[in-house]
C-alpha cells in the first residue's frame, strides 16, 4: 500500500509573466487523504487542475500509476462546471457513456430526491456539487480531486458529501486530495496536510505528527534566534510565537510552557504567518 499513485516533478505553471506554480515536486500514495490549505492565490486550485489534466503545466511532469487512466480520475472544480443545459438524467447518461460506467449508482441521487427531469442549471449550488459528486462516485475513481466547495454546501448536504467521500476511501481505496481552508468543515478525513504559498509547498506533514512539530509559546521576552517560528503575534504585554519545526532541545534553550495546537490553529498560523511576512 505504499506505492505512489501520483508523482509530480518540477511542475511549473506560468500565466504571462507571473509564476503560479514554481518547480513543485511531490508524491501521493494510494488511499491517501490529503488536504491542501493556503492563502487565496497561492496556487492551490491551479495545482489541483494540473492533477486533473484541466491545466497543462508549462514545464515538469505528472506521472500517474500505471492503470490510472483519465477515467479513473474524478475532479470537482470550485467553479461548478457541468453541462447545465442537460437534465439530471441526461447528465447521468452522458457521464456514464463517456466514462464507461455500466451500472450507475443512483443511491445518492435518490437519497437527495433529485428530479431526474430537472435541468442541471436549475439546481442550487450545493445540489450541483452533490450531483457532480454522485457522477464521480460511479466512476469508482482512484483519485478524487476536490476544490474548495465544502463551504458552499449547507450542513445537511455537507454531511452527505463527507459520508460519500468516506465510502469511496473505504470501498475503493480512493486517494482523496481536497483543497480547504479550515479543518472544522472537513473534520478529520485528511491524514496529510499541505500548505501552499506562492506556488510552493511550505508545509507537508502527517496530521498525526503535526502536533509534535508545531507548538506555540507565550513570553514577554524575545525568542532566541536559533528557534525557528512561522508566526509571531505581538501585543502590548506579551509575544506569542508559533514554532516549527519544534525540537525538544528548545525546551532548554527557551524554557517556557509549550502548548500543542489543534490543526485548525496550525493552518491559521501558517497562513497567517505568510500574511505577516508579506507585510514585512
Amino acid at each position: 500500500m505504499t506505492e505512489n499513485i501520483l508523482e509530480v516533478d518540477n511542475l511549473r505553471v506560468k500565466i504571462g509573466r507571473k509564476t503560479i506554480l514554481d518547480d513543485i515536486r511531490i508524491q501521493f500514495k494510494k488511499n491517501e487523504s490529503v488536504v491542501i490549505a493556503g492563502r487565496n492565490g497561492s496556487g492551490k486550485s491551479t495545482f489541483l487542475r494540473c492533477l486533473a489534466n484541466v491545466i497543462f503545466p508549462d514545464r515538469g511532469s505528472i506521472v500517474y500509476n500505471k492503470g490510472t487512466t483519465k477515467e479513473k480520475i474524478g475532479f470537482i472544480s470550485d467553479q461548478i462546471s457541468l453541462f447545465e443545459n442537460l437534465t439530471v438524467e441526461q447528465g447521468i447518461r452522458f457521464h456514464s457513456s463517456v466514462f464507461h460506467i455500466e451500472d450507475f449508482d443512483y443511491t445518492l441521487i435518490n437519497d437527495l430526491k433529485f428530479d431526474l427531469n430537472q435541468k442541471i442549471k436549475n439546481l442550487s449550488a450545493g445540489e450541483k456539487t452533490l450531483y457532480h459528486l454522485s457522477l464521480l462516485l460511479s466512476q469508482k475513481p482512484e483519485i478524487l480531486l476536490i476544490d474548495e466547495i465544502i463551504h458552499t454546501i449547507d450542513p445537511y448536504l455537507r454531511e452527505k458529501f463527507l459520508e460519500a467521500v468516506i465510502e469511496l476511501i473505504d470501498r475503493y481505496q480512493t486517494t482523496v486530495i481536497m483543497i480547504n481552508h479550515t479543518f472544522s468543515e472537513i473534520e478529520k478525513i485528511p491524514e496529510r496536510v499541505l500548505v501552499m504559498e506562492k506556488g510552493q509547498f511550505i508545509l507537508d506533514e502527517k496530521c498525526e505528527t503535526l502536533g509534535e512539530k508545531i507548538k506555540s509559546v507565550v513570553s514577554e521576552k524575545e525568542i532566541p534566534e536559533e528557534i525557528p517560528y512561522i508566526l509571531k503575534r505581538e501585543s502590548s504585554f506579551q509575544k506569542e510565537y508559533f514554532i516549527y519545526p519544534f525540537k525538544e532541545e528548545f525546551r532548554k534553550a527557551f524554557p517556557h510552557e509549550y502548548k500543542e495546537l489543534s490543526l485548525n490553529d496550525i493552518i491559521k498560523a501558517f497562513v497567517g504567518g505568510q500574511y505577516v511576512k508579506e507585510g514585512n
Binding site: I15, G16, F56, S77, Q79, S81, L82, S97
Partner: protein
C-alpha cells in the same frame, strides 16, 4: 460525446434551415418587391447565409460549453485534446459539406445560369472561411471577436494568395493578365471549371492554409482553462515559423508553376540553333557558344529565315532577330485597339500581314517595308471576311502594275478565296473543295473530281488545265510563308484519311501516287520536301526526303515517344530532336550530330 456534438449541430442546422426558408418570404412581404419570385430571392439569401454558416460552424467549437460553463468539465473528460477537437470538428465539417452540396444541387435544379463556374470563387471562400474560423476558434470566448478575426484572416489570406502570384509573375517578368488568374479574383463568371486555373494555385492555397491548421492542432494540444492569451501566445509561437516556411514554399510553387515549359527551337541555315520561350530572352547557340538577346520578348516563333535574319510569326509584334550580331528588334507593333492576326508573310523586302480592329469593325492588309520601315495599309472590309474566318494569305503576284494577294479561308468545309489588290479592290475568286495553292504563278484549286489549274489574265483567273482526281488530298507548299515565287518542279500532297502521298509534276501536270504512309509533309522553300513518317502513333518516326517521286530515308528515330514529351522538328538545315530534356541536332545532308556545348 459524439452524439452530443451531432445533436448540437443538428439543432443549429434546423434553425439555419428555418431562417433561410423564412427570410426570403419576409423580405418579399416587407419590401413589396412582389414582382420577384420567391426563388430568385431565396438563392442569394441562401448563398449569403452559407457564408454565415461556415463562419458559425468554425467558431462554434467551444461555444456550447462556454455558455454552459462546462469547459472544466469538458477538459476533465477522458479524452485527449486532439480527440476532443476531432469529435467536435467532424459533425461540423459534415454539416458544412452537406449544406454546400444542397446549395449547389438546388442551384442546378432551380435552373439558374449554368453556374458551375461561378462556384469556384464561392466554394474557395466558403471552405477557407470555415477552416480559418475553426483554427481561430480557441482564440476568444466572444463570438463577435472570433467572427471579426476570422473575416480579417480571410481577407489577409486571399491578399497573400494574390501577392504570391503577383511576386512570382514579377520575378518572371510575366504580365499578370497572362496567367488568367485575375479573373478568379474578380469573381468573374465564365471560367471553365478546371482548365483556366493554373495548377500551382490550389497548391499555394493549401500551403497558405496549413500554418493556420497546423498551429491550431499543435496549440490545442495544450488547451486549458488559463486565459486565452496563453493559448494565443502558443499559437503564434507555432504559427510564425510555419507561416514563413509555407510562404516560402508557396513562392516556390508559384515560381515553378509560372514557368512556361514550352520552348521552341529553330535551326538556321548557318547551323545556329535558336531557342525561344515566353517572356524571356532569345538564346542563340552557335557551336561552343551561346548568346542571348538583350531584351525579353513576349514570344518569338521563328519561322521565316532569310540570310542572317529570322522573323517571327506569332502574337502581337513583328520581331526580327539578327543571327550574326544577335540583336533582336521589334519591327512593328500594331496601334491601339488593333490586333495582328497571326502569321506574316514575306516577299522581297516586304512583310505583309493582316491587322484588324479589336471590335471587328474593319481590317487592313499591312505592308511593312523592311528597308524604309514604312507601312502601307490597304483597308479590307472585314464584312467580306466575316464569311471568311481564319484568313490566310497564300500567294502574291503582280498583274500589270498592281500587286494582288490571294487570301483563303474556311467556310462550310469549303475554302473561299479572296483577291485583294494594292489599291484596295477586292475580288471574290470562288470556293474550292480543298485547300488551294499558288505556285509558279498558277492557282491550284479543286472540284469534287478534278484538280483545276488556273492562271491570272486580265479580267481574272482562267482555267488552263483540269486533271481528274478523286483522292481527298490537296497539294501544298506548307505554310507558304515565302511568297517569292521561285518556280518549283513538283508539288506533293498527303491525305490524313487515306494516308497516300501524291505528286503533281508542275511541268507535265502528271499526277502519281508515291505510296501509302502515315505521317506529315514538311516543305522548305524552294521545293524541298521532307516526310515525317509515323510508324506507330505517338512512337517512332522515320524521316524521308521526297524528290522526283522517290522517298529516300534520311534518319530513323525508333525511340521517339510523344508520351515522354519528345518532339521532332525538321528544318531546312537539319533535324532537331527534343528528347525530354535532351536536345539532339542533326544537320543535313549527312545528318551528322551537331554539338552545341551550352545546350
Amino acid at each position: 460525446m459524439l452524439k452530443k456534438e451531432i445533436s448540437e449541430v443538428l439543432k443549429h442546422s434546423i434553425i439555419f434551415i428555418l431562417v433561410v426558408l423564412l427570410l426570403p418570404a419576409i423580405l418579399l412581404v416587407t419590401t413589396i418587391i412582389s414582382d420577384q419570385s420567391y426563388f430568385s430571392v431565396f438563392f442569394p439569401v441562401f448563398q449569403f447565409g452559407l457564408f454565415f454558416w461556415a463562419l458559425f460552424m468554425g467558431t462554434s467549437l467551444f461555444s456550447g460549453e462556454r455558455r454552459q460553463r462546462g469547459i472544466e468539465y469538458l477538459l476533465s473528460l477522458p479524452y485527449s485534446r486532439l480527440q476532443l477537437i476531432g469529435i467536435k470538428t467532424l459533425p461540423r465539417l459534415c454539416a458544412v459539406i452537406v449544406f454546400y452540396l444542397v446549395f449547389v444541387n438546388l442551384y442546378k435544379i432551380g435552373g439558374q445560369d449554368s453556374a458551375a463556374t461561378t462556384f469556384i470563387p464561392f466554394t474557395a471562400i466558403y471552405f477557407t472561411l470555415f477552416l480559418l474560423a475553426l483554427s481561430l476558434s480557441a482564440f476568444s470566448d466572444n463570438f463577435i471577436i472570433l467572427s471579426v478575426t476570422s473575416l480579417f484572416s480571410l481577407f489577409t489570406y486571399y491578399g497573400l494568395l494574390y501577392l504570391v502570384y503577383w511576386v512570382a509573375s514579377k520575378i518572371r517578368s510575366i504580365p499578370l493578365g497572362e496567367l488568367d488568374i485575375e479573373e478568379l479574383f474578380l469573381l468573374e463568371p465564365g471560367l471553365s471549371l478546371w482548365l483556366d486555373i493554373p495548377k500551382f494555385l490550389p497548391l499555394v492555397a493549401i500551403a497558405l492554409l496549413l500554418p493556420f491548421l497546423i498551429s491550431f492542432v499543435l496549440s490545442i494540444k495544450k488547451f486549458d482553462v488559463r486565459p486565452a492569451k496563453v493559448l494565443n501566445k502558443r499559437f503564434f509561437k507555432y504559427f510564425t515559423p510555419i507561416f514563413v516556411c509555407c510562404l516560402a514554399i508557396s513562392l516556390l510553387f508559384a515560381y515553378q508553376g509560372t514557368k512556361i515549359e514550352y520552348q521552341d527551337y529553330y535551326l538556321t541555315q548557318d547551323k545556329k540553333l535558336i531557342e525561344s520561350n515566353y517572356y524571356s530572352k532569345i538564346k542563340i547557340y552557335d557551336g561552343d557558344k551561346v548568346y542571348k538577346t538583350e531584351k525579353k520578348f513576349e514570344y518569338f516563333w521563328p519561322h521565316l529565315v532569310e540570310d542572317e535574319y529570322v522573323y517571327d510569326l506569332w502574337e502581337e509584334q513583328v520581331v526580327r532577330l539578327n543571327t550574326s550580331n544577335y540583336k533582336a528588334e521589334i519591327l512593328y507593333e500594331p496601334p491601339e485597339k488593333r490586333e495582328l492576326t497571326w502569321i506574316r508573310w514575306k516577299y522581297n523586302n516586304t512583310i505583309v500581314f493582316l491587322e484588324k480592329n479589336e471590335d471587328l469593325s474593319g481590317a487592313e492588309l499591312v505592308l511593312f517595308d523592311l528597308s524604309s520601315k514604312k507601312t502601307t495599309r490597304i483597308p479590307i472590309s472585314y464584312n467580306q471576311l466575316i464569311d471568311y474566318p481564319l484568313p490566310r494569305i497564300f500567294g502574291t503576284e503582280k498583274s500589270g502594275n498592281k500587286r494582288f494577294w490571294l487570301i483563303r479561308s474556311v467556310h462550310d468545309s469549303k475554302y473561299p478565296i479572296l483577291r485583294v489588290w494594292e489599291d484596295g479592290r477586292t475580288d471574290v475568286i470562288g470556293k474550292t473543295q480543298r485547300r488551294p495553292s499558288f505556285v509558279n504563278q498558277m492557282l491550284i484549286t479543286y472540284l469534287d473530281d478534278a484538280i483545276v489549274i488556273s492562271k491570272d489574265f486580265e479580267g481574272g483567273f482562267k482555267t488552263i488545265r483540269e486533271i481528274p482526281w478523286k483522292l481527298d488530298l490537296a497539294f501544298s507548299t506548307g505554310w507558304g510563308f515565302y511568297l517569292n515565287n521561285i518556280p518549283i518542279k513538283e508539288i506533293y500532297g498527303h491525305g490524313q484519311r487515306h494516308k497516300i502521298i501524291a505528286r503533281l509534276d508542275l511541268e507535265t501536270f502528271e499526277v502519281e501516287e508515291v505510296g501509302e504512309f502515315a505521317g506529315y509533309l514538311r516543305y522548305f522553300h524552294p521545293g524541298i520536301y521532307y516526310f515525317v513518317e509515323t510508324i506507330k502513333p505517338g512512337v517512332s518516326r522515320n524521316i524521308y526526303q521526297l524528290k522526283e517521286g522517290q522517298m529516300k530515308i534520311l534518319k530513323s528515330f525508333p525511340d521517339f515517344d510523344i508520351r515522354k514529351g519528345h518532339s521532332l522538328r525538321v528544318f531546312k538545315a537539319g533535324i532537331v530532336f527534343i528528347r525530354g530534356k535532351e536536345i539532339k541536332v542533326y544537320a543535313f545532308p549527312d545528318l551528322k550530330e551537331l554539338k552545341f556545348k551550352k545546350l
